[in-house]
Symmetry: C2
Subunit: 360 residues, 2 copies
């Protein structure tokens, strides 16, 4: 039995963006303080008890930060492994470094997931001229070439429609190590938000149906039309991944749903070892949000309920979408969440709105 | 048409306690920063973008604080009027100083409310030996003697059961100016949480039924058993008070409900020119809480919906009640709100728990 961190304890968060901000806001009602560590000041600084600006490569600074808090978590998966290791030398890091290592590299992630018997889209490594032909042979002539590292929101990806497009695509990605992914004929995308405690208890939120625009998540809607049987299968898959990683906290698992008649109805697209954009609807449709449950898990607290009291569609506010804040604030049934970012640059996540209605 | 403060603006809050903390937490999702001003560091400091420690009597410091923010509000009604005036010389103070002046003095408050035709319990001033007999004559031999100023949570009150007890009670309250209130044979206490915008729009939350323990609010339950007709009357009374005060923000109006057959079913007990403990249930049973609606109002934003998606009982955690945090965190259907106060002194409000269930 792990001891829960008592109220008054401090959660250290690596990363100062909107996810760190919403984690801080969720920690406060539990009587927990947050200390943010980020390479640049960010929106989380405005709601945290303490903030440190430092490079993620500055392991001495990371160690001092970790020593000053009671547990360390992170809000983005590209925290350098050295930073996580430096922190872990001083204080527990949750989710653990294994989740971080796996999620930072698409090839490692897909290999790991397939290795525990969970379906993923067909994939092949592309890391040299020699690998190009083998990849086409394994996957076919259509697919998506993705860099193994640092890709997100549609960045670091090129669609391939014929074998001849692969090499130029690889060049355009600067010959960074890549995976070629086969296209999966999916009906829609869902995600599983699973939270796992230190003792291994898992709880799940209802599965949202996710849509994208320009490679960025656009909406998450709950309930999704997926059947209970297939939702149960999706949860089972997400739990298997979390358990195999020895995961503590909220894990986001994006899946392609191939439809009720597919032999293998669900295929994992990717995982995010953190609270996830497709779980932002939980803030207004559940008693305990994904953010609070992540904090509960990493602090060794009992997990909170994951039930849903309302139906909801979450819509991201990207770039100048946020200019409509006044109309959104006046909309009945809409809850607005702005991230406090000073500049509405194109493609930047500025906030989201949750449109709720009574459960159908 | 008043211009709404755009995201990125700063709300100044006088007072650093749990109400300031919950106001700060509610301002963040609107993209608004908070700057707390308090005579001692308090729980709000941990979640605010900026904090200033200063005496409320230090008008120069208050002025500088007010100048650095876009609007000033307050979380307790005993902000010195001089402090509010100093702030208002630099930037708008909402709710206005009139609400503060009226609410700081029971005699003034009751006189004001009665003056606009709203029923209050019978009362008479007690401020000298000469006034004692007149008070007994007006009110009768049983009642409650209350100091006009600085009483809260049952402090500064003495129950009177015979005429001879009045003078000793007055002495025990150090002959501070008092009111003697007649006892009202009420069925139960309700409160109205009304929010009023700068343009005069009013919205209401559902009325909670409130119970007390040792003079401190114990529970607020929604729905209360009051009839729709009488709830409508209560809201009308609260709106009349808010409008007469030119009020902006959330106003808490405590009322005695005398039962369905009473000639005058509702009598105002007292008002609080701020978010109110009996509205803490809105945090988990409504899309937009009293805290967010207060911030919206003082920032000139559109008011948010006040509808309720769940039934709920709020229970205060007083003193060592908070030691049960782990059991409360594990309770299904319970949302915990701890205030981050370091010491669980007897009688101190340490947090609250909202126990919710689907609407009946």
């Amino acid at each position: 039995m792990t001891t829960a961190l008592p109220p008054g304890s401090t959660i250290g968060i690596l990363g100062g963006g909107q996810l760190g901000r919403m984690l801080s806001l969720a920690a406060a009602p539990l009587g927990l303080k947050c200390h943010i560590y980020s390479d640049v000041p960010g929106p989380a600084f405005d709601v945290a008890a303490a903030s440190t600006v430092g490079a993620y490569e500055d392991t001495a600074k990371i160690r001092a930060f970790a020593e000053s808090v009671d547990v360390v978590t992170y809000e983005f998966e590209n925290v350098p492994l050295e930073a996580a290791a430096a922190a872990e030398a001083m204080t527990p890091v949750r989710p653990g470094p294994k989740a971080l290592a796996v999620a930072q590299d698409r090839l490692e992630e897909k290999t790991f997931i397939r290795g525990i018997g969970i379906p993923v889209a067909p994939f092949a490594p592309v890391d040299s001229d020699a690998s190009l032909e083998a990849a086409i042979h394994a996957i076919g002539e259509t697919g998506i070439l993705k860099t193994c590292r640092l890709g997100y929101d549609g960045k670091g990806q090129v669609r391939i429609k014929s074998a001849s497009e692969l090499k130029p695509a690889f060049e355009s990605l600067k010959r960074a190590p890549c995976v070629l992914e086969g296209l999966v004929p999916f009906a829609y995308e869902v995600s599983v938000l699973v939270v796992r405690s230190i003792s291994g208890e898992v709880r799940f939120y209802d599965l949202p149906l996710n849509t994208h625009k320009n490679g960025i998540l656009d909406t998450s809607t709950v309930p999704s039309p997926i059947s209970e049987t297939h939702a149960a299968r999706a949860k089972e898959m997400a739990a298997a991944i979390a358990t195999a990683l020895g995961y503590v906290g909220v894990l986001g698992v994006e899946m392609f749903y191939l439809g009720p008649d597919a032999a293998e109805p669900l295929v994992v697209n990717e995982i995010a070892p953190r609270v996830h954009n497709s779980g932002h609807w939980t803030m207004d449709a559940c008693l305990v949000s994904q953010f609070e449950n992540h904090i509960r898990a990493v602090a060794g607290w009992p997990l909170g309920p994951t039930g849903r009291h309302s139906d909801v569609t979450m819509t991201n506010l990207i770039g100048e979408d946020v200019d409509a804040w006044q109309a959104l604030a006046a909309e009945p049934g809409a809850a607005l969440h702005l991230y406090g970012k000073p500049e509405a640059r194109p493609g930047r996540k500025m906030g989201h709105v949750n449109r709720v209605k009574p459960r159908s």
